[in-house]
């Protein structure tokens, strides 16, 4: 069965400020979609609204996964439905170990060895998984730890918020390859937010979306990323 994540006319605010002004997007399992767009256009906000971050309020529209409305669910229920966010800035949770977090998230079996195995696959030192969640990890290590969690949880869809920032070239290659494999391994659907084409080399996107002022203003194939790299976002700002 193909999974489908459908974002329909999504409006959202943070505080009093309307940030998303009608986002439409449909993701299908196994596909890689990419969102590019200037700083502050609402990319992270979209990821946060879908996953229920406190303070991010959907004012209208819907986000459904195989027909189930996510916006009315608790954040943890949304994950259990199958949408996972790898954060742009993964938070530290002192006192909580990854293994206990994953168990509480419903992962069964030998969680320690699953974390270790998935860490090895992307070149993350396995002992980092024994520390408290993200505490004393570098920016790049945190990003990789997010990918480890994706690999262990195996969600239907992963939202990757600038997963490439903070990673060195080698780590980026490993991470992108791992995620690409996941699209085959369990048909993971990906929505990757990025500024850089480097991630796309290995991730091989199917669709590129350009976001501006809280809306998707252009959608196309991989050639769109090339155009963005050449011309910047300026031409797209016109299309409102």
């Amino acid at each position: 069965m193909r999974n489908e994540l459908v974002i329909r006319d999504l409006h959202a605010r943070v505080g009093d400020k309307e940030i998303l002004r009608g986002v439409n997007l449909t993701l299908t399992s196994g596909e890689v979609h990419v969102i590019m767009g200037p700083n502050g256009c609402g990319k992270s906000t979209l990821a946060h609204v879908i996953t229920g971050r406190p303070g991010y309020v959907a004012t209208s529209g819907s986000v459904t996964l195989n027909g189930t409305e996510l916006l009315t669910l608790e954040p943890s229920e949304r994950v259990r439905e199958g949408v996972f966010l790898a954060m742009q800035h993964p938070l530290e949770v002192p006192g909580v170990r990854p293994v206990d977090m994953m168990r509480a998230a419903g992962v069964t079996g030998n969680v320690e060895s699953q974390l270790a195995e998935q860490s090895r696959r992307i070149g993350l030192r396995t002992e980092l998984m024994e520390r408290f969640v993200n505490v004393d990890l570098s920016g790049g290590e945190r990003k990789r730890a997010e990918v480890v969690q994706i690999s262990v949880l195996q969600p239907k869809f992963a939202l990757l918020d600038e997963i490439d920032s903070g990673l060195d070239v080698d780590a980026l290659g490993l991470v992108a390859r791992r995620l690409h494999e996941a699209t085959k391994e369990w048909d993971l659907g990906i929505l990757a937010i990025t500024h850089f084409r480097r991630l796309l080399h290995e991730l091989t996107p199917d669709v590129i979306h350009v976001m501006s002022h809280g809306k998707i203003v252009a959608t196309g194939g991989p050639e769109l990323a090339e155009q963005l790299e050449r011309d910047g976002y300026e031409p797209f700002r016109e299309i409102e």
Binding site: P54, P75, V79, G95
Partner: protein, 402 residues
């Protein structure tokens, strides 16, 4: 107090230093026990405390199962019942465990503290742990079993120059008990003592403890105090930083439920310059429980470039729970760095959301974060040892956070 003292007088007959002990009991009788009008005792439910109801300690209950797991991780395990040495297993070169019948002990440091004076008069003996110079020792586990009645355990730990040692003290039992331990730690030049107290006494126990560390030049003391049990649980943890480069880390935490009171106190005394203290206190109060943290940082004139920090975070899990934080600074030198932060409030919302965004339910996220307060305190221990405590903490937190 009459009945108690009569029994006490008969108990000390024949003990070493009986005359001195008797004299101390007379001092205590004249002074009387503290009342809540004494500032430092204002949070103690002393009206419910009748020392005359506590006789000689009875045999203690069996120790909980997790202690068995712990013993596998310690190099030396010492069993102490009601402050009395029972047995020791294991040994380490350069580490000496003894139980001395010392008799009278200098009471001067405790003159204003009736409970510490009671300990000085009535402790059965001093359990002593000494580490020789340059010895990098492993872990000593002290298992304290507390029976019904009054007991006064006394401990002295001395880590000589360039030596290091980890001591874990677990307190269990304590049904209808009154236990007033006093411990003294000496940390020599460039020595390093890690000390973890895991107090999981019965919720009917009165536990009034006091520890004092004396830290010499470049010595380091890391103390973690985990307070789970007790009706009234008081932990006073002091440090005297007497040599330049001396460092004291004191991490305390509590979990209160029912009508428990956790009364945490500390006094970091910076006698000389370039000394450093870090106080971290975190705790959670549920039901009608109360907690208070009173921390005094004192910096002597001339103790330049001293660095002293105090952080206090309390979590209230019910509308009837109450937490106070009372930081005090007494600084007689300008060239110092002092910082203090304290908060009372709910759990960090974003941290909770991070866990939820992994698929952890809100309730489980909160529970994990509260357990996390304790796990942080255990971070000074090797992971395999910490894990043993963590399993026990999980059980306790699940009882409290429904």
């Amino acid at each position: 107090m009459k009945t108690f003292l009569n029994i006490a007088h008969s108990q000390i007959t024949g003990l070493p230093g009986a005359v001195e002990r008797g004299r101390l009991l007379d001092v205590i009788e004249r002074q009387g026990l503290p009342t809540t009008t004494d500032e430092v005792w204002r949070y103690a439910p002393l009206s419910q405390f009748n020392i005359d109801t506590f006789g000689a300690p009875e045999r203690s209950e069996a120790s909980p199962a997790f202690i068995n797991d712990l013993t596998h991780h310690a190099d030396i395990v010492v069993q102490i019942d009601n402050g009395r040495y029972v047995a020791a297993q294991g040994d380490m070169p350069g580490v000496h465990v003894s139980w001395r019948d010392e008799g009278a002990i200098d009471e001067a440091p405790y003159q204003d503290d009736a409970f510490a004076l009671l300990n000085t008069a009535l402790h059965p003996h001093v359990l002593s742990i000494e580490v020789d110079t340059d010895v990098s020792a492993g872990t000593v586990l002290l298992v304290h079993r507390v029976g019904t009645g009054a007991s006064f355990p006394r401990t002295r730990i001395s880590v000589s120059r360039n030596a290091r040692l980890t001591v874990i003290e677990v307190w269990c039992g304590g049904t209808d008990a009154f236990v007033a331990p006093v411990s003294e730690f000496e940390v020599g030049d460039n020595a390093h003592l890690t000390h973890v107290t895991y107090q999981r006494l019965d919720s009917s126990a009165w536990h009034v403890s006091r520890t004092t560390a004396r830290i010499e030049r470049s010595g380091r003391m890391h103390q973690s105090v985990l307070c789970l049990g007790g009706q009234y649980d008081r932990a006073r943890n002091d440090a005297e930083l007497v040599g330049p480069g001396a460092e004291n880390q004191l991490w305390t935490t509590f979990l209160g439920s029912g009508d428990q009171v956790h009364d945490l106190r500390s006094h970091q005394m910076h006698h000389v310059g370039r000394t450093n203290s870090v106080l971290l206190s975190k705790g959670a109060a549920a039901d009608r429980s109360r907690s208070v943290y009173t921390g005094l940082i004192e910096i002597e004139r001339g103790a330049r470039r001293t660095d002293a920090r105090q952080t206090n975070h309390n979590l209230l899990l019910s509308p009837q729970a109450h937490a106070d934080s009372v930081p005090n600074l007494d600084i007689r030198e300008n060239d110092v760095t002092c910082a203090h932060a304290s908060s009372v409030g709910p759990l960090d919302e974003l941290q909770r959301w991070y866990l939820e965004s992994r698929g952890v339910s809100r309730q489980d996220a909160e529970r994990l974060m509260i357990e996390g307060f304790f796990k942080e305190m255990l971070d000074v221990l090797p992971t395999d040892v910490a894990r043993v405590f963590e399993a026990d903490i999980t059980v306790r937190v699940r009882e409290v956070v429904a």
